[in-house]
């Protein structure tokens, strides 16, 4: 369980994290979504024990990060954004050292290293120096390091960076397994929306250090869905007709117009039939007409860029 309560972090004049509160229960993957500089890495560094919070509290597995930092760190597997291991060490040497550092008992150490490297496909790389590894394998070493002590909580900062699509897929499955089968609380940050959308059980959207929204994908998208949107394609010039639409249909908004394609925000679902008729009267054939399904990208755009229809701040 990861718990964050009214967390603030200030670097001089810069407020990197503001009043952030959330929880990641065991067995859940929380995606930490936000643009670059939103405060994701700072929050993860606070949770990893690398940085102190300016105010507020954070705890991992019940251990407060300021009061019982070592215990909290023992309960955490942390993968920094750009993971680097000492270049002079071989992968196996490094992982054995980290296992010792994390107090994995001596008898179990080799076995645990073998398990984790097997899990991450690092077996053939054990005798290679870290400096000779590709970025993907380096990232795997970092993840192996985070998993070594079998901690109840995992903090992963941009874990997909540098991985090829196949590796990403493997990685996602691995994390799902860890969370759902091994009941680990996983908090990962990313600014790659599809990754978060696909992996996270819940998503926390953050910008300028502030939480903008928190919830499952469906919960978040349902906020966008309150007003139905329709994507419509006609044979003629959409731009000219699009300008007349709001006059004919009170409450309707034209969100986008690209040639004959229009994205409309209807006032209510009953306007659909009237629209068909309106276009038919003007000799325009409606080639396609289907509801527009919102994605996290839409939500992200709405929340971060302040696009119309943004919901109230959530957290």
């Amino acid at each position: 369980m990861i718990r964050v309560d009214r967390l603030h972090k200030r670097f001089g004049a810069v407020q990197a994290v503001r009043d952030l509160s959330f929880e990641v229960p065991p067995g859940e993957i929380l995606g930490f979504l936000g643009p670059n500089g939103a405060g994701k890495t700072t929050t993860l560094r606070i949770l990893s024990g690398f940085l102190p919070p300016s105010s507020g509290a954070a705890a991992v597995a019940g251990h407060d990060l300021t009061q019982a930092s070592i215990q909290a760190r023992r309960a955490t597997g942390y993968l920094p954004e750009s993971f680097v291991a000492p270049p002079e060490l071989r992968v196996g040497e490094y992982l054995r050292f980290r296992a010792g550092l994390k107090a994995v008992p001596g008898a179990r150490r080799r076995r645990r290293v073998a398990e984790v490297t097997e899990m991450l496909g690092l077996g053939p790389r054990l005798r290679q120096p870290f400096s000779a590894l590709s970025k993907g394998f380096r990232q795997r070493v970092g993840l192996a390091d985070a998993l070594l002590a079998d901690p109840p909580a995992l903090l992963l900062d941009e874990p997909f960076g540098g991985l090829d699509p196949l590796q990403r897929q493997e990685f996602r499955e691995l994390l799902r397994g860890l969370a759902h089968d091994h009941r680990k609380a996983v908090l990962f940050s990313s600014h790659v929306l599809p990754e978060v959308e696909e992996l996270a059980d819940r998503v926390l959207v953050i910008d300028e250090g502030r939480a903008l929204a928190l919830g499952s994908r469906e919960e978040l998208l349902s906020r966008l869905d309150q007003a139905p949107r329709q994507r419509l394609r006609i044979s003629g010039d959409g731009a000219a007709l699009g300008r007349k639409l709001p006059e004919a249909f009170p409450g309707l908004e034209v969100l986008a117009c690209d040639g004959g394609e229009l994205l409309l925000q209807l006032a209510d679902a009953g306007q659909r039939g009237a629209l068909f008729r309106w276009f038919a009267c003007r000799g325009e054939e409606v080639l396609a007409f289907h509801p527009d399904t919102p994605t996290l990208e839409d939500l992200f755009r709405v929340l971060v860029a302040g696009a119309p229809g943004a919901p109230e701040e959530a957290a």
């Binding site: 670097f11 001089g12 120096p129």
Partner: protein, 489 residues
């Protein structure tokens, strides 16, 4: 502004922690430098260098503001101790450097130690030499206020002289003993008391002033006395720096008692001493096996201009000095000479078996005795007695036990008392005084310097060089390469 504030606060916090740590360490070190908490263990197997508890206590008892000045300058190339590549001086200096540190530590900062060596600014060395009237061979000056003790090379070290082209070698030192004595002398309230008889001086009384000052600066309590001290007086040494007439009855009685009691005596007569007075002393000193001879000793004298003259102003060169006696060893070593005027010779007679006697200054066969004191011709004739002559004789008891009891120094001349500021006389007089007071004690406190010479053969040398310059660094680099190669795989 905020960032600056944060940095400032963090910086201040860090500095505060640093200062707190520093204060703690300083306090700890200060406490550990206190004598009761400071321990020094001397593990050196060959020649222990640490000062004994006695010396340490004496140094700690010295008055605040005392000074120790060590002259460890480059020895003269003419010094025989540097011949044949001898390392006597470097080795001695190594011992003295450790001693300097010991003085500083054991005196708990009361003695300000100054080591003047070849790395010291020459101006400073020259200034200190001028201030202290430094002479060659004087190694350590220990000062407490106006009092001063000078430790010379020969007092501190025992050497094997260079012979048969073999370099001189340091075989022992008594640095601890000498320093302890000097510190005790300077630090204690009671100083050895020396009576200088001024009742029948052959020179103006005021000329005695510099000699009395010399004694005071050496750490003695010296006073000129008009009459000889009686048996009840607690003088430690009696010096008679010349006598131009017979003693009064009371003084003669006192002199007789002094000699009978074997109390230390420095008796200097001269050709100006009338025969009865000389006879009186010869009687008293008969058991010692030495007697003053009548007549003025003269010798050809080659002056600075190269002209040869005959005079009663004679110089005893280092060849005429006893190399192994505590008084003259230094002078001999430094190849100095001592000037004597109006001198008379001494004869070695059959004395008591209780006493040993040793000539420490003598003149060779070129000297002669002017028989007529009143009309000297300064020309030797066939009838005039020729040298060699004993000029200064040291006597002591065979069974000598405490201090200088039984020691007497009989000198055929007293002129060197007049100008003790001249280097030669100064050194001679202070060495003589020390010997008479039993302060040389060369047998005690000697620490053997077991030197470990090493002269490798050519093969050994090559092996040493190869292993230390090539093999060890080479093997290390090779091992590094091996590691590099192994780890790259």
């Amino acid at each position: 502004m905020g960032a600056l504030n944060r940095r400032l606060r963090l910086g201040l916090l860090t500095i505060a922690a640093g200062l707190a740590g520093m204060a703690l360490v300083v306090l700890m070190l200060r406490a550990l430098s206190q004598p009761q908490l400071r321990y020094r263990w001397d593990f050196a197997g060959t020649s222990p260098l640490a000062l004994s508890q006695r010396s340490a206590a004496a140094l700690a008892a010295m008055p605040e503001g005392s000074r120790a000045t060590l002259f460890l300058d480059r020895p003269s190339p003419q010094d025989p101790l540097t011949f044949y590549g001898s390392a006597v001086y470097p080795n001695a200096y190594a011992v003295l450097r450790v001693a300097a540190e010991e003085i500083r530590i054991q005196s708990h900062g009361k003695v300000e130690v100054q080591v003047l060596d070849e790395f010291t600014a020459p101006v400073k060395v020259a200034a200190e030499k001028a201030r202290l009237g430094h002479q060659y061979g004087q190694m350590v000056y220990l000062e407490a206020g106006e009092k001063r003790r000078i430790l010379r090379f020969a007092e501190l070290f025992r050497i094997d002289q260079p012979v048969n082209e073999q370099p001189a070698r340091l075989h022992s030192h008594r640095v601890d003993e000498a320093l302890g004595d000097a510190a005790l002398r300077l630090g204690r309230g009671h100083l050895p008391r020396i009576a200088v008889y001024s009742g029948l001086l052959p020179f103006p009384r005021e000329d005695l002033g510099p000699f009395l000052q010399l004694l005071a600066s050496e750490g003695y309590q010296a006073a000129a006395v008009e009459s000889l001290p009686g048996p009840g007086d607690d003088w430690d040494l009696l010096i008679i720096p010349g006598q131009r007439g017979p003693l009064l009855a009371a003084d003669a009685e006192a002199a007789r008692a002094w000699v009978e009691q074997d109390r230390p005596l420095f008796l200097a007569l001269g050709s100006f001493t009338p025969a009865p007075a000389m006879e009186f002393w010869n009687q008293q000193l008969a058991p010692r096996g030495a007697a003053f001879l009548e007549g003025r000793v003269c010798k050809k004298f080659r002056g600075a201009t190269g002209l040869t003259a005959n005079a009663d102003h004679i110089a005893v060169t280092f060849e005429g000095m006893q190399a192994n006696h505590a008084i003259t060893a230094d002078l001999h070593l430094d190849q100095r000479w001592l000037e004597l005027g109006s001198a008379q010779a001494l004869d070695l007679t059959e004395g008591s078996v209780d006493y040993a006697r040793e000539t420490i200054l003598w003149l060779d066969g070129s000297a002669w005795i002017e028989p007529d004191e009143l009309q000297p011709t300064f020309q030797p004739s066939s009838r005039t007695p020729r040298g060699p002559f004993n000029m200064v004789v040291a006597t002591s008891r065979w069974d000598e036990q405490d201090g200088g009891r039984g020691r007497a120094l009989l000198s055929g001349s007293a002129t060197y008392f007049v100008d003790p500021q001249r280097a030669l006389a100064r050194d001679f007089l202070s060495s003589a005084t020390r010997w008479l007071l039993g302060e040389d004690q060369s047998s005690s406190g000697l620490v053997a310097l077991q030197s470990l010479p090493f002269r490798p053969t050519a093969a050994q040398h090559a092996r040493l060089a190869n292993l230390s310059i090539l093999a060890l660094p080479g093997a290390t680099l090779l091992f590094g390469l091996l590691v590099f190669w192994r780890r790259r795989r």
